[in-house]
Amino acid sequence: MSYKGKFRVWRGEGGEGRLEDFTVEVNEGEVVLDVIHRLQATQAPDLAVRWNCKAGKCGSCSMEINGKPRLGCMTRMSTFTEDETITVTPMRTFPVIKDLVTDVSYNYQKAREIPSFTPPKDVKPGEYRMQQIDVERSQEFRKCIECFMCNNVCHVIRDHEENKTHFAGPRFLMRIAELDMHPYDVADRKDSAQEDHGLGYCNITKCCTEVCPEHIKITDNALIPMKERVVDRKYDPLVWLGNKIFRR
């Protein structure tokens, strides 16, 4: 069953632009990205949209649909009423290149700032021995598809551009937690999580968790455990004393 859907789509380059109204055919079983593609094919051939897998696994088609960060390919049209106007805008935390395509290089910059996996010097590749229960916490974080919607929705940088220099965002604080929990990683990540990557800016309001299309419990399983590890290192005199006495 088809109907004519009402869409408002952000058009423009750089920050300048406007919301343009379109009426476009919507068919049963379609997702928002399908309709954006039909719009491109029939009415706005120069409409820019980034996409790739159409299966919710590449993280390319992140956008904001009715104000909420969503993957265009995973947002079913059946979740809207037929008379509803659907507003589609680019992610609001990152600079716009054109229309729905944003420049997400902030995220790659932050990724580069995190020291990579650092095994002990005396353990060679192929000698790692660990049990499943030792690594399964970190494996949850490996589900990340790098859609960057968590960083987009995080108010620390969404509402405060000036924090981008010293806040890595939930995606990369989760990466730090993943490495810190790894049984074979020996790099000291607790101090740098707080001092260099801005873990203290996180006020655990859980928007990153709410928007994650992979349903990773970013706040409960990565950010809060990492905050607790930082407390061990920096704010808990009993842990400090215990470490001194038992020479841990």
């Binding site: 920050g15 929705v153 800016y201 590890r229």
Partner: protein
């Protein structure tokens, strides 16, 4: 609702939408309900702490337990002790108030809820916050939130005392409605306390080799299951402690008088 616009050139490269949010759902409902719920609790707590009808054999109101001064009736004292003596003339509940209040105030779930509903930072996801600057929990006073685990240790003691009170009530008045209200409340308080993120960290969260500590890993697994329900337990125990406290005070005042009260 107009968007606050930062003037930096980088900010101007973002889509210049002149609205605070484009969300069309009722995003304001959750923070509004949270604000109402927490405000109601604060008002009730303020009234309860100064109310003197906190004990009626064998019940003691949770907001005033443990009762540690000589002003407390004999039966209300914990193990019959009054370690604070008679110099403290303010309501006895004030002495221990700091532990459960501090535990909830620094709790990771409550932080989320009041940052959203009272401080609007942010009020909801993808809704602009009204503040021009944001430093989060990096400096005073909010860096003090990191003491949460110490309040957790105190909350364990309070949970134990409330459980003891409920068991005493069960021994002396097993058919009393108040007994069962106190028992349910004690269970919810203990579950909420154990589901705490700091508890999860202390059991084994800080370890990297679960396989070397099987008992701690099992404890962590149990606490993790509880932790997934931390929000629900936070609200359930918040209301249960108010209901239990109010019930005991009403029995003590003689407002509730039926035989199995």
């Amino acid at each position: 609702m107009t968007q606050q616009t930062a003037e930096s050139p980088a900010r101007k490269q973002r889509a210049q939408l002149k609205v605070r949010t484009l969300r069309t759902d009722r995003w304001w409902l959750a923070p509004a309900l949270t604000f109402a719920g927490l405000t109601f609790f604060l008002i009730y707590g303020f009234w309860a702490i100064f109310d003197k009808s906190y004990f009626v054999e064998p019940y003691i109101a949770p907001f005033s337990s443990p009762c540690l001064t000589t002003a407390c009736p004999e039966g209300a004292r914990l193990f019959g002790w009054a370690p604070i003596g008679d110099w403290f003339t303010l309501p006895p509940g004030l002495i221990i108030l700091g532990l459960p209040a501090g535990f909830r105030f620094t709790c990771y779930y409550y932080r989320k809820s009041y940052y959203r509903s009272f401080w609007l930072s942010p009020p909801a996801c993808a809704v602009g916050e009204p503040h021009k600057k944001y430093t989060g929990e990096t400096r005073l006073p909010l860096v003090i939130q990191n003491v949460h685990r110490y309040f957790f240790y105190g909350a364990i003691l309070i949970g134990a005392v409330l459980s003891y009170d409920a068991i005493l009530a069960l021994i002396h008045k097993p058919a009393g409605l108040g007994t069962w209200i106190l028992l349910v409340n004690a269970a919810l308080i203990v579950l909420y306390t154990l589901s705490c993120h700091s508890c999860r960290h202390i059991t084994a969260g800080r370890l990297n080799h679960f396989s070397k500590h099987p008992l701690r890993y099992r404890a962590w697994t149990f606490v993790s299951k509880l932790n997934a329900k931390h929000m629900q337990l936070a609200w359930a125990s918040l209301f249960s402690v108010m209901i239990a406290d109010f019930y005991v005070r009403m029995v003590a005042k003689g407002v509730i008088t039926f035989p199995f009260a």
